[in-house]
Symmetry: C2
Subunit: 341 residues, 2 copies
């Protein structure tokens, strides 16, 4: 079952690689005309997420079109609350919206611990289809949201600049908060295990809203639960991407995971110092660089790699690629990484 | 013309103070029933901003009700683009919206450098009224947005999670970007000088969107222009609040200003180390702490002050107070600061 190209797994494990592996967060998505063609025929984003054949198709597209070194399953971090009994909608141009939000301990008690096979079978089916289609060419990345980030949406009900409703919960009802985080964490561990069983070769945990917590809260309400997830998984490498959690890099470096993802504002040199030799790093080009000329993209990509070095490193952007980025700019980024020497 | 209470000015200048001064960002606003009573009678936020008698009334309210150690003029950072010829609306529950945005050098050329007396007279009149009503009780803080933050709205057209349109401009059109920033900076300097002439005793520069730029861009496109503003003002102390710019604290410490504002995620100890003895600090309680019990508010406020120390320090939140915070919680915060020993 050896993969033809397992550069990402080698880099994550700190093994010597002949060249730097590269993929992009949100590579399966609106940047590709092939994706938009599939998406146009559907009523909405969640229909695509819940139709395994189509989710598999758009997952594989960037491997074929962009020649990235990994696929990442096309899905959404908020399928977990839905599987726990809290459904949501994805509103065009606005983002996720939960008609009901969590505010009482009774509501927390009523939530289920998600059963992946019965509630999230569509993701697992998509993973199995992708593995077949990829035919061992490149690894497949599975993922989940970090418990804090999932919690934030379940309490706030939608995206927010400050997530003050979710953060208020931490101050006013720490017990309820921990109870909810426990349940999300238990669901997430089962879900990720099921993804691995279905074929995921590496797991990434996205803590998209790490950056709105003060450090003490971050350690208590987010990192502690990410740690449990990392501890529960030992079959495949794990990457933790905690956007904005610059203040917790030393603690992230102590997680039992393989790779730390950096956002585009984190300083590469100090991140290396804080995490070496325990962790590989992933990231962190500003997605806006891809709006520049090919010459500027190549220059800034090379400068980024100069800082990271070419081992224990997975090249990526520092955030998801913006939907209006040109495919040629993305290819320029990928080619620059592949030709780095 | 000596003020009865000039604790904030003394603390900003690094002079010994008998007790810690305190105010809150967004203290003039929806937290106060007195504010909501004024606001309800009006068609919108901008009507309040543009009616000097009413802007003055809500500016003074928190001094009377909350007993804070300074007033801050009730206004908005986006009056500057409007005075330059780019009008905007404030849409209820959504935020600012510019019907026209800046995308070409021709548009930049067509913008004026704002003339405060003719275009922003309503702010200056409000300042004069406030000074009369305050009757030398406490200082009045004037303010402006940092040029980068104002630029971000003028190019993006509204708030945004990533401001990718504004940041794209920096990568694609650096010359246009600098031309626009020059014009905003020139307007801002005139505007702040006019505020000082009208009676402002201290100036705060708000770089609300500092935290979305990579460091190299932050230094080039934001800090360089803030520096010019600081250099142009020597009559009153200046506070620079660059939200999210943790990565630029050493450079902020080198600005010719008196005080650096910290957001609630910045680490107090390392900020002190990086800025001492040159700068006073302001901040930085998580606004969500005010959702907790009085006991927790008092405890966390005292712990915060333990870290800052009681000199070269102005107590504040690490961001604007959230509109649904109770007045009693705010008073508990203020009283805790005043009684700290």
């Amino acid at each position: 079952m050896q993969l033809e190209n397992n550069l990402i797994l080698q880099a994550a494990r700190g093994q010597q690689v002949p060249r730097i592996p590269v993929w992009l967060m949100r590579q399966a998505g609106r940047i590709l005309p092939e994706y938009r063609a599939v998406r146009e025929k559907l009523s909405g984003f969640l229909e695509l997420v819940k139709t395994p054949e189509l989710a598999a198709e758009v997952t594989v597209q960037p491997v074929d079109v962009l020649k990235v070194d990994a696929a990442i399953i096309f899905s959404d971090i908020l399928v977990i609350p839905e599987a726990m009994g809290l459904p949501y909608q994805m509103i065009e141009k606005k983002g996720p919206y939960f008609p009901e939000t969590i505010g009482t301990i009774k509501q927390v008690d009523q939530l289920k611990v998600a059963d992946p096979e019965s509630e999230l079978g569509y993701v697992l089916d998509a993973i199995r289809l992708v593995k077949k289609e990829l035919d061992r060419k490149v690894p497949l990345i599975g993922f989940a949201g970090a418990p804090w980030t999932v919690f934030a949406y379940m309490v706030e009900g939608s995206g927010s600049k400050t997530f003050s409703k979710a953060r208020r919960m931490l101050y006013q009802h720490p017990d309820l908060s921990h109870a909810l985080l426990e349940k999300i964490t238990a669901s997430t561990i089962r879900y990720l295990q099921a993804q691995i069983d279905a074929g995921a070769d590496l797991i990434q945990v996205f803590d998209s809203w790490a950056g709105i917590l003060p450090k003490s809260h971050y350690l208590t309400y987010s990192l502690a639960y990410i740690r449990r997830i990392c501890q529960s998984i030992d079959q495949v490498p794990i990457t933790v991407f905690a956007k904005g959690a610059y203040f917790a890099l030393p603690e992230l470096a102590d997680l039992p995971c393989e790779t730390i993802g950096l956002d585009w504002q984190m300083d590469v040199d100090s991140a290396r110092k804080l995490t070496q030799p325990k962790k590989s790093l992933q990231g962190n080009l500003d997605p806006c660089v891809l709006y520049g000329s090919f010459q500027d993209i190549a220059r800034q990509t090379n400068e980024m790699i100069d800082r990271f070095g070419s081992q224990q490193y997975i090249a990526n952007l520092g955030h998801g690629v913006y939907p209006d980025t040109s495919v040629d700019a993305v290819k320029c980024f990928i080619d620059t990484v592949k030709n780095y020497r």
